[in-house]
Symmetry: D2
């Protein structure tokens, strides 16, 4: 009999965590994933109370990720989880991910994939060895209108791509809130977040989005990073000139101190015949601009969309889907792929459209390259 | 020990149904509701295959709603479902709802609550008798920025309300698709939808929204309904002049033949000092207009919102929530209320903010009044 | 030799007047009209100082309109003005207009054309007798994207028109400013404005726009007018159900007490195949909506526009034109028509696209019908 | 007696010219400037027919700018023009401007002020010597909401400025239209436009706007320019990292090959407490963003604006003004300044708010610095 529900465990995401809750909602939304067990906090007591609050069965609430991985690997096939979502801060990605892979579990990881590029390369190696999957939650590539944009470009509708402008302004770190706000504390702490602040946290999303939609690769860049808030240890703003492998030019700008901005990730790509514009805060709309014809407003849920976009939409046009649904698309595609693999079927191309360990390695390389460029007097640093 | 998860059964919503799937996603999103059983189709075979596809346990997939209600009522307390979501077409609301109430189950119902006003009044009576709850899924009042608007008005920020403009243009029935499209077929069939098309389907949402946000009641109205598509049996468009109990004036316009529109429910309310504007297609934004000061853009997720709005938001500002989340708010508030009732606690005011049987009765009265007015030569019909 | 510049005189529009200044800017913009003389105020002293401030030659600054009309009619052909712009309050339209026509001058008039329907009919009669022109400044039909919308509909692109929604919310009369504000004082005074406030002032614009763009005529209506501000003598708000001569339905809503609104005239028209949406506050954009294709954003200045629109645009796309330019289009078309007439040429169709005495008569009939309907208990009043 | 109208002559701007016509409309709009004479083309025949078409008196239609300057300088005071607008291509700015200044005429010049920085410095020197004025038509700083933004920042409302993002995407040169399109031909020809294409034409506007509104100066930059269209001789795209004198960071991006864009100049500035956003294509709106309060929509024509903005607005809120009006503000302020100077009065600060020769020199330095940076391997080039 074929597997119906894919079973998930979680590491991190206990009380007060933001992104762990998002992962759980995303996994729950479509009814294809069962949340079975968790090691929800590094603090064993908090792990237990968090697990109880989520109605996990008592015997599958674990006090540590090691315990969880070992115990779950002993369970019979029809009970054992298929994958583990790791939603800890960056510094605590690598070890649980590696242990999960070594014990036969697929992994879902928050971006950036690891604390350092070295760790990312080791994870990549392990994925190759084991044949298991890492799914990286670059949420924004789960939005259907992003996928529609990618399809238009892949189909050549815009002609050769010339210019890419991607920006990600946030304002929430405009003042020194890291002393009071746990979410801000680890993100601004080089011991926990890694060497980069703004670029690691959101710049990587912007870079991934630009490459994902355009189908191009950044080949060199010129970065100007800065810490605006006194006493902060990691950069909270940066602007980067980009060059792509087809000689397209671009700009990536990201900020955590753009006071008054929320989460205004925006992508514009221009080719010979037209351009696209997508704004995460109104994600169900894609502007498609043409050289000599009216701009078109593509909208989620419409019949004229590409199949690749449609397969990531749940509702008719005019019924807005948002961030959780985009997140859920990644979970849904990942879990459908696992289901097909379990059943010995070949997953289709749309299902397999989720970010993987390769995107994770590329993200870490991006961070390294940006940091190198920012410290350099030379204009261009190769990526 | 207190109950943790609230248990749900479903009537209707089998393969191919749209709204049943939305109910399931909404119920699943927040992890507090367990979907336990279903009589998912009037066709027993389809009921079974639909239940299997959703991984329901075989012994709780029922071939008819009668069987489900009777069987579930025999189960022990810790297994028995707490409520039943009825997601059938309008003509099939009343009987299962009545039987559910008679057997001790709370009910979630799609709007309009019933096929006729008489049925609605009988349900209201039964709710009074049993002390059970009917939750009516007027989704749009589940959006946090709608709740924020209501709060601003309740707090007197706009002064006395003078004018209300509510519109609900859709275009999907611009041609005679009812022959090919099941969703359209029953909505345009008086045997299944009731005496009203456009007004029953979406006009009731608009009227509910206007009254919910303004805190006012429509006291009389003047309606002009029309069937534009040849051969259609129920009105597909209507415009209505409104008068409210504080002498405010208004217009309600709804259409299913506004070609090119999606689901563009929009509410504007003006008082002595300012106005609000909310558009369902960009639901995380609320415009607040002032007589002598700049318009303000209120946004979901911001710290300055009222608690009543905040308690219906899951994500930080700039991470869009949509239709499913609004729907889930209604499920979450309803199930939290049930949980509190089960545990002998008093639910708080925000939890109880979901539409009930009273809203259902009012909706049916609205439909009756509109139909009467549309046939009348008199300007005003009392509501 | 052919005439190059058309010569204009003005009645009203002295110091402190708003609309007179707009007329002068509109006439000056394109360099084809020479402002030669004026009787700029009913107060002879103010008439003189106003004329001097505008650098009019001393001998063509007149103390009364009668003096101006008589004196100018004595001047030789190459000096005498061709037309007179009358920019006085409504009650002072008729007499100068009639005298101007009787003395051989074409006339530009602000809407509403007169104080009463009777006056309008007399002006219409006089126009027929004399062969002279009245140009009525329904500014909004001078916007190029309005003309583009009209053309799309005339060309049948939207199919048969079904629904028209036109709204004109303003908020400036939300409080009783008429005691301090001359602009408000006469508009709310039945001795000066006529029997209607909001509908005469802005409702007529909305009705004209709806008919102009759709090419349809209102055949019956049902109006609900109201005075919201205590002590005000003319209605400051109204909502009207409309029926058109092709059986299309519609709503017209106008308000001067929509607190926080500026001048938000907006028109939406839906036909069988699609719809248009135009908003005066962003006048260079026209949304064109289609049943099964993406919404298109038509923009002023683009090459794909109709000739009728292009001939009313001065700048390339992306260089916004506004209210004064729309006003100037009416002046430009009117003066080009006069020029052609003077030179014995036939003006082309686009030139002749300015509102005339017929529109003025229709506007007065609209006001009368609305007032009658608002007082009636019958649903429909024939127009 | 004090002068009432300021008298203008024009060099360039004959038939088919775009910007000359804009200058004439801008000068005519407010009635304070009289267009008296012209040398409208380098081709004497075209100069004459162009002058006749504009109804200039025959004796003040000149066949060359030299003739015009000499003849006009012989006229008596009450006839002689006060200033000359030079609207020729860049290569033909310097000589007529210099000759005009030498003969006692003030000058209005299109940007960039000259063909080379050397010429700009010579003009600056001549202005100092003569006490005459050069007014440079950086149109965009004539928009009232730009001035409002400048005022908010000058008043410290945003706190210390941290980040400036200015972009100017156009798409009109996406293909090689320069062979057919005179407007494109000279702009892409280094013999006529100078060493820079995109940056000289529109990048200078963006840089001026950023500095004008922020009150800051660019101190170093890092530019990446590119020619996208095969065979084009001047860059048609560029991205630039910016640093400002208070250590703020920024990005300037300009393009003539952003296919589907019109004239989408946009400025965003972020400070410690909030940010502003202004978009030229919707110029009557200014978004003002705050760290912990709702975004505000400032609108032209509202009573809450600063006096500096109000003095550049003609119409009540909701009556859109556009590009010509912004242009006219520069003409109005410049001519009011001349009027005051002629009458021996001190012009007030708002009147004097028009770009001058200093802005022209800075613009040429900007172009030189950008070109140098683009060719350099070093990251930063001092400005």
């Amino acid at each position: 009999m074929s597997i119906k529900k894919i079973r998930m465990g979680m590491i991190g995401g206990g009380k007060g965590a933001f992104i762990g809750e998002v992962h759980r909602m995303a996994a729950a939304l479509d009814g294809g994933i069962e949340f079975c067990c968790g090691a929800l906090s590094a603090d064993p007591d908090k792990a237990v109370t968090s697990g109880e609050a989520l109605s996990l069965p008592a015997d599958r609430i674990y006090g540590s990720y090691q315990e969880m991985i070992l115990s779950e690997s002993q369970l019979p096939d029809h009970q054992r989880i298929h994958f583990i979502s790791i939603v800890t801060p960056n510094f605590a990605h690598f070890e649980p991910a590696m242990m999960a892979l070594e014990n036969g579990f697929h992994v879902v990881l928050e971006k950036p994939i690891s604390f350092s590029l070295e760790e990312a390369l080791l994870l990549q190696e392990k994925v190759k060895q084991t044949g298991l999957l890492i799914c990286l939650t670059h949420t924004y590539s789960g939005y259907p209108m992003v996928i529609q944009a990618r399809q238009l470009i892949a189909d050549g509708k815009l002609g050769k791509i010339r210019k890419i402008m991607v920006e990600y302004p946030q304002g929430w770190l405009s003042t020194r809130i890291e002393n009071d706000t746990p979410l801000a504390a680890w993100r601004t702490d080089p011991e926990k977040a890694g060497q980069s602040g703004c670029m690691g946290d959101i710049g990587t999303h912007a870079a991934h989005l630009a490459e994902y939609v355009s189908g191009l690769k950044i080949t060199k860049l010129c970065a100007d990073l800065h810490v605006f808030v006194d006493g902060r240890r990691l950069e909270d703003d940066g602007n980067i000139l980009l060059r792509f492998d087809n000689d397209a030019r671009g700009v990536l700008s990201a900020s955590q101190v753009a006071a008054g901005e929320e989460n205004a990730l925006k992508l514009r790509i221009y080719g010979e015949h037209g351009g696209i514009e997508w704004n995460q805060q109104e994600p169900n709309t894609l502007l498609v601009k043409w050289l000599d014809a009216p701009v078109q407003i593509y909208r989620a849920g419409q019949g004229y969309l590409a199949d690749a976009a449609k397969s990531n939409i749940r509702l008719p046009a005019g019924h807005p889907e948002g961030y959780i649904e985009a997140f859920a698309n990644i979970y849904r595609n990942f879990s459908a792929t696992l289901q097909h693999m379990s059943n010995g079927q070949e997953p289709d191309a749309n299902m397999q459209d989720f970010p993987t360990v390769e995107d994770g390695v590329r993200g870490m390389q991006f961070i390294d390259t940006v940091l190198h460029s920012s410290r350099s007097d030379q204009k261009w640093t190769d990526f």
